[in-house]
């Protein structure tokens, strides 16, 4: 190509093309690292961490999509103050954060009902007497 001939003199081009030797064992060292990478891949073939979504992550993603859809449906229904996508996202994350950080609330009525279900039955005169078996 003509531009190659004019930009650099042949002597300089030859020097740029001259082989570069990175030492006698350079290729062997590359293969050492490749073998190490292969061994590691055999030990841990599955991606870990963020690459494998957790159940909680999947639920959060699903609820986020649901919130987007329902938010979009509400805003499309002609409400006077239209909810933007940003509002919906903010609302969703605020609700999710609140649900996660909120202290568990014990409903007294349900608590009593559960206690009633699980406590020992009241003494019944018609029931058979418990006898110890040795």
């Amino acid at each position: 190509m003509p531009d190659r001939e004019t930009f650099l003199p042949p002597e300089l081009r030859a020097r740029l093309r001259a082989p570069v030797d990175l030492g006698p064992g350079a290729r062997a060292r590359v293969m050492q690292r490749v073998r190490a990478a292969a061994a590691l891949a055999r030990i841990a073939p599955q991606p870990r961490g963020m690459a494998r979504p957790s159940v909680l992550g999947a639920l959060l993603a699903a609820s986020f999509v649901a919130a987007l859809v329902t938010g979009g449906a509400r805003s499309g229904a002609g409400a006077s103050a239209q909810t933007t996508l940003a509002d919906t996202i903010t609302m969703h994350f605020e609700a999710a954060a609140e649900a996660v950080t909120r202290a568990p609330v014990i409903d007294r009525d349900r608590f009593v009902a559960v206690a009633d279900e699980t406590r020992n039955p009241a003494p019944n005169l018609t029931a058979a007497r418990l006898t110890r078996r040795n």
Partner: protein, 180 residues
């Protein structure tokens, strides 16, 4: 004895023959080493960058597309490795210089230019994008379309980088010869 093409070797490696990867290393190590050395200016840095590139290529063989040549693919990986290293080195250099300035210490360039040969010293004075284009064009003997697919730069921009880079390289070498 016929040598299997790169794509065949890649299939063997994907099928579990790790040792077949040595064929790819033998074929491409020379040109990758030359590129990395011209770009980074040190044998140690070049060796590390080349090793990293081969290991990354091995790990990503699943994403390698047969339509593309393995040589071009791994060269693109190396070009990106070298860019990352140059940015990291520049940042380190700037941090060290700033610290020394703040502590009233004399600043000495950590890059030992005096240890390199004339051509390396001249190449090191080119901006990285020009150095990259000149080395791919003249050391690796690639066409502009190939350089464009490797670097992601437009052909017109590459032509300009090569032209300016060569002019600057010649000027630096002439000045150094006139001074010595």
């Amino acid at each position: 004895m016929t040598h299997p093409p790169d794509s065949t070797v890649v299939h063997r490696v994907i099928a579990g023959d790790v040792e077949a990867f040595a064929l790819l290393v033998d074929r491409h190590h020379g040109r990758l080493a030359r590129y990395a050395f011209h770009l980074l200016g040190s044998e140690a840095e070049a060796e590390e960058a080349v090793q990293d590139s081969f290991v990354r290529a091995y790990r990503s063989l699943g994403t390698y597309k047969e339509q593309e040549q393995f040589g071009a693919w791994i060269m693109r990986i190396l070009v990106n490795r070298c860019r990352t290293r140059l940015v990291r080195d520049k940042r380190r250099e700037e941090t060290a210089a700033a610290w020394l300035r703040e502590n009233d210490q004399p600043y000495e360039h950590t890059d030992s230019l005096a240890m390199r040969d004339e051509l390396s010293v001249a190449l090191a004075q080119l901006p990285p994008d020009q150095r990259e284009a000149v080395v791919l064009r003249y050391a690796d003997d690639l066409g502009y379309d190939q350089i464009s697919s490797i670097t992601g730069a437009k052909i017109s921009a590459l032509k300009m980088r090569v032209k300016r880079g060569c002019e600057r390289l010649r000027a630096i070498l002439e000045a150094s010869r006139a001074g010595s």
